[in-house]
Amino acid sequence: MATKTSVAEVVVSAMKTFLRQPTGMASQAQNLQWIAGIFVAAVVWILLYNNLELFATQLLQIARINRTNRLGEALHFFIYEVPKVLLLLTGVVFLMGVIHTFISPERTRALLSGHRTGVGNVMAATLGIVTPFCSCSAVPLFIGFLQAGIPLGVTFSFLISAPMINEVALALLFGMFGWKVALLYTGMGLAVAIIAGMVIGKLRMEGSLEEWVQKLQKSKMPVEDDDDAISWPMRLHEGVMHVREIVGKVWLYIVFGVGLGAGIHGYVPENFMASLMGKSVWWSVPVAVLIGVPMYSNAAGILPVVQALLGKGAALGTVMAFMMSVIALSAPEMIILRKVLKPRLIAVFASVVAAGIMLVGFVFNLLL
């Protein structure tokens, strides 16, 4: 219970700090309406989140299902986990939607331009977490960064971290495995993005960009930070829209995924995966990454699998490496990037990132 309360407190205080910011041009009444609405939503959220266990138990009692047998245990797991993960997801995605109104790709580009390798890589990877990013915009973003004179390695740091460390992955890791795993994932993801970007920068592979991109690289497009100061109600509205879009897209995955997890939770024997993906099996990390790289799935699709594997004795490092490689690299992304990168650079990009992820897997397995 203790950790749950602190989670709630963090969310509330985060909302409070957000709302203390200047409010732009919106009318006072509208602001109040939004603040009140968000406040009520936050209170309801916290009440629900803190009483999930009670709710699940009560519901089983009403349905007269006994928790002592396997079916009862699986059902309880399902009724408890689904609302918990959905609540967390809604909260995190809302906050991220509001944050996105502060950091457009244009602003990120303006922040990054003028920074050299090193500091630039760290900034790029960090900004990758909070900048709105969609893999179908990867190419214009990539070119836009290069046009602004941002070094290739720094651009790659952004391009690696943006899809890998996303709000859905973080919320689900947080919900299913706790804040420690979510934090570890973030830290390791950042490390991979920073180091892989720096390595690619050191290799001086500008010649492996397609010719027309090389020409653009010297074009020095105007870097403008389109600072459209929008009002707080608009920002909160964007947060709500983001929830609608993201949660609307992934909730079904989560219900199915947790259902699968519940089944495994109740029925598959403990340590089923230990001999295959346990700590002592060193080759499981590279194999997991090699399988994961071409695979394409979003965080919501892959997490149920991750949970199932972990629950049955697979090592955390192996599973994390698998998840990172599925989310960060995919065959469709390579095909999109082929428009701007020559095959040599795509190969280097994929292998540097894959190597970094493997390293993360080994380190995790060694330390934990």
Partner: protein, 98 residues
């Protein structure tokens, strides 16, 4: 007659934006031509970082998302908001700009 361009290299949301724009034009009876720009080199001349982007009379009005019906209607009917010098390269030529 407005010249509307949809920038985007064929992602699902780009098609959504094109459909939404066409729906608004048809329903509101706006005189406009719609062109989809899918060539990445051409897209990049508009200096956009995220697709889909909505361009009206060579001015980038919206990027990275699919706006609502009401918003598209406003963008297609109202005089361009903002001011000269916004959105970079070639919008100065459009007559309705201040």
């Amino acid at each position: 007659m407005k010249k509307v361009k949809i920038l985007g290299s064929g992602c699902p949301s780009c098609n959504q934006l094109a459909d939404a724009v066409n729906a608004v034009i048809a329903a509101e009876g706006i005189a406009a031509s719609v062109e989809k720009v899918e060539d990445i080199q051409q897209i990049m001349t508009y200096n956009v970082l995220s697709t889909p982007a909505l361009v009206v009379d060579e001015k980038v009005l919206c990027k990275g998302r699919v706006p609502s019906y009401a918003e598209i209607k406003e963008l297609l009917t109202a005089k361009p908001h903002g001011c000269c010098g916004n959105h970079g390269n070639k919008d100065q030529r459009s007559g309705s700009c201040c």
